[in-house]
Symmetry: C2
Subunit: 127 residues, 2 copies
DNA sequence: GCGAGAACGACAATGATTGTCAAAAACGCA
DNA sequence: TGCGTTTTTGACAATCATTGTCGTTCTCGC
């Protein structure tokens, strides 16, 4: 399978490289429109899905509903997310990684991946 | 807030006590219908939500789509889920709990919760 | 037994995501 | 550079779990 370089794919990648934090597909689509880029919503969804599959961006499924996408630093890590304002901090947890793999191995599981999100209230949002 | 005991709430609780593994709201609703219990789908959703809020059942949001509910053992724990057949194992990880709280505290976060799911392929489903 | 308030449930509404398919663009090759 | 093949695009429709609505029904304390 060969991936072709298209204007739309570049635009999405470029946008993700510039923005901070998590954004929904619809957010990103709106931003592209504001920039004058003409990209269809369907294409934004598919492009994000492709990037996520390729491991180039992170996907988060907050309890609230829509999927959020974000360009992240390299390597595996997790997120500490403020329930109130959405502000996120990347956290690394080597101990957790090894723990997860060990537990999975104990039960004979292979091809293991995992998701971990920590939710809380950040200092500015505390009453 | 006072929770009232209704036939429907009892039916949902009883069903959850009997079935194994995770089931979607629609699944559970169908099972109730098969039993002859007349419960509305809306009510099943609301009841499950209430039970989840009360911490009596677990909610899982698999990448596939719908929410899955399950009556779980007491105490905080996580799940090791087979991507192929859905078979799940409960796993406890005290180390992870303390790690999550410590990380959150380091960043000044309060009111902390977290979600952790491990996905893999269980032995019977391995090729 | 009674009444206020909670819960129910049929139905409509929401809204993110996915499918469709003809038109357009990209790439390999000569 | 020109051409044909194959992928990609994107407007629109379709899907589908979940949530809102609101009149009716049921609980529970008194």
């Amino acid at each position: 399978m060969s991936l072709r370089n298209t204007r739309q794919r570049s635009a999405v990648s470029a946008l993700l490289a510039e923005v901070e934090g998590f954004h929904s597909a619809q957010d990103l689509h709106a931003m592209l429109r504001d920039r004058g880029e003409r990209v269809g919503l369907t294409t934004v969804y598919r492009t994000l899905q492709g990037l996520a599959d390729a491991g180039e961006i992170d996907v988060m499924r907050p309890p609230g509903g829509e999927h959020l996408y974000r360009r992240c630093s390299e390597g595996h890590h997790h997120h500490l997310v403020c329930k109130a304002c959405g502000w996120t901090v990347e956290v690394a947890g080597p101990a957790v990684e090894t723990w997860a793999e060990r537990v999975a191995a104990q039960h004979g599981f292979t091809n293991v991946s995992h998701t971990l999100e920590i939710f809380g209230t950040c200092p500015p949002c505390s009453p």
